[in-house]
Symmetry: C2
Subunit: 342 residues, 2 copies
DNA sequence: AGTTTTTACGCAACCGATTGCTTAAATATA
DNA sequence: TATATTTAAGCAATCGGTTGCGTAAAAACT
């Protein structure tokens, strides 16, 4: 059973005693085909159950109507929303989305970039793996004129589209908020420094302290690698074990911030009275935990939409040249119980 | 800038004075090509920067090394993990994954199924949209011999692969657990009845009550449409406003269960003393909320892996016939603070 | 040396749609 | 009526690999 042969334009052509060129043109409403023939062809196509073979037309045109996505992991709230935004916009424009994961591994990222290249994607959207420091594997897309958008975790230098938030000022705002709530000894659970976004957040944190004449105590800055819950617990314990523990924590993501809250609560501290906490991302957990986690809104879905739009717009251009363009999306401080002292 | 022509096997053939057939075979280590030539070809390919054109070979073989995924929404923890599992297994086997979303709309699901069909995916994995009741749009895959796997939200009748959990017995276990903790008036926040999995869960709930000689009170069963947080709040308020409110709630997902906890807490009820709650899915939020939410583990990632494996295995078969096979994955009751009375 | 077998490679069709160029027929113009 | 123009459609090459079949050369065998 099964395995019916697909109906092709050859079948339609044969049935109607036409050439394949005429059928092809009729199906696309080309002006050089008479209305009568066009109708006849379209009717036959429908009746015979014709479905265009995307592969064949892609091969011919060397265009695929497919956008490749290369991210660390799908199953994180931020990434899932990002993809959702990418997919929704692409879908509306008739584009497919291919998803690949690097699992934060450099080698996987290189392999997947190659696989996407071989699939002849029309464009590629990438958020770098934690490990990645070199970006040579993306040069081939530029050389080929394939639009490349880096999102969120973007490389410092690369002449292409970048869609991101202003991490520096977001972190500045977060830290400033804690200061305004009366914190004077604010710790920072930071990400790896060579990863741009975390470095920027750390910079914003430091500058906010300086601007308000607070001392920057290196003991209060803990760098963690993967920003997991467990690492958040460890970092928080380390901070609370200090001789003079902090009275506020600004964490580079919500997962570690939630860990901080749990640890502090378990150690009998009151939040936000004894220690105020603010995270980053506005993950769903942030309004589930008690007290609610103050955080920075990170417009994931919106970013995804923007990425797709950049690609689609680029593909419509006639001039083929490389483009450098950085788009910043807005963030804001979301104040919940974990930091609200006044 | 840009638009370098790709290197093809023709370029390699010309450079080495060989035919394209020889080059093609050499690149695949075909036995009929001498080792010397094979090496020469592979060296030249590497040197010239050859990348195979997947489209061309797909067109010829009518196989794409691509698995299509059609789900309601990506940005939900269960779905994100499911996709992650699908993608990881597919990736290892050299397959790409195309993601599409139905947004729980029947029409979108039909359109996306068609788009995936046109893309000539090698297999398709689908979790039905909430709205979907007819499944005619999937028949074309069966007719064509393309493996189709339904996962989680599966149709009642369809001769194909299905990967799911035993919703009936999971719900039975959840309800039984509440009974064992001393609950005697257990409510159920249920999903739409025509969606199989929710119906099964409701059945398990009812049967558990009966088995333990507890009355099934229709007032205690609230059906909600999309299982959102807001709907969970509404449902809980309705239940707690009853003349004789429940002392336990079994909710068909974690989102509504968390909503139930929050509402109950806000109304001054103690959990689990006044009212015990158990959810379904084991979403990340379940161990973040206070008290921790008891729930049913739903092996999303594992399910994803299983789906991909079914497809890959099917594609390796030589006999081409349709297959009906239902795979049940294990679930267990995860007991946390929200229901632990003893 | 003559015959059979094996090895290594090439020829050409094919997958399905697209498109520049050509041409036959229909219509308009002189 | 003869010629110019427009309309409608077909021919054949093309995109880049793949593969069944054929064959010359080398190796093995009598």
């Amino acid at each position: 059973m099964t395995n019916n042969k697909d109906v092709t334009i050859y079948d339609i052509a044969e049935k109607l005693n036409l050439s394949t060129s005429t059928v092809s043109r009729a199906l696309k409403n080309h002006s050089s085909i008479s209305k009568k023939t066009t109708k006849k062809v379209n009717d036959a196509a429908k009746e015979m159950g014709y479905t265009p073979n995307t592969l064949a037309s892609s091969l011919r045109s060397n265009k695929t109507k497919t956008i490749g996505v290369l991210i660390s992991r799908i199953n994180r709230p931020f990434m899932a929303s990002l993809i959702s935004g990418i997919e929704e916009t692409a879908q509306k424009a008739g584009y497919n989305v291919i998803i690949t994961q690097s699992h934060d591994s450099y080698q996987d990222e290189v392999d997947m970039a190659q696989a996407l290249y071989n699939s002849r994607v029309s464009g590629i959207i990438c958020s770098l793996a934690m490990e990645t420091t070199k970006t040579d594997h993306f040069q081939q897309f530029i050389d080929k004129g394939i639009p490349l958008v880096f999102v969120d975790r973007v490389p410092k230098e690369f002449n292409t589209y970048r869609v991101m938030i202003d991490n520096y000022s977001a972190a500045f705002k977060a830290t400033k908020h804690l200061i305004e709530q009366g914190c004077t000894r604010i710790a920072h659970i930071a990400g790896l420094k060579f990863r741009n976004i975390y470095n920027e957040r750390e910079r914003g944190y430091r500058d906010a302290l300086k601007q308000y004449n607070l001392e920057v105590d290196e003991d209060l800055i803990v760098h963690v690698k993967t920003m997991s819950y467990e690492e958040g617990e460890k970092a928080t314990n380390k901070l609370l074990d200090l001789e003079t523990p902090p009275d506020g924590i600004f964490s580079s993501n919500d997962t570690t911030a939630v860990a901080a809250i749990q640890v502090a609560k378990n150690r009998g501290l009151k939040i936000p009275e004894d220690i105020a906490v603010i995270g980053f991302n506005n993950d769903p957990i942030s309004h589930i935990i008690d007290p609610g986690l103050s955080t920075i809104s990170h417009p994931a879905f919106e970013m995804g939409k923007t990425c797709s739009k950049k690609i689609l717009k680029h593909l419509k251009r006639s001039k083929i040249d490389s483009i450098t363009e950085i788009t910043f999306l807005n963030t804001e401080v979301i104040v919940r119980g974990s930091s609200k002292r006044k």
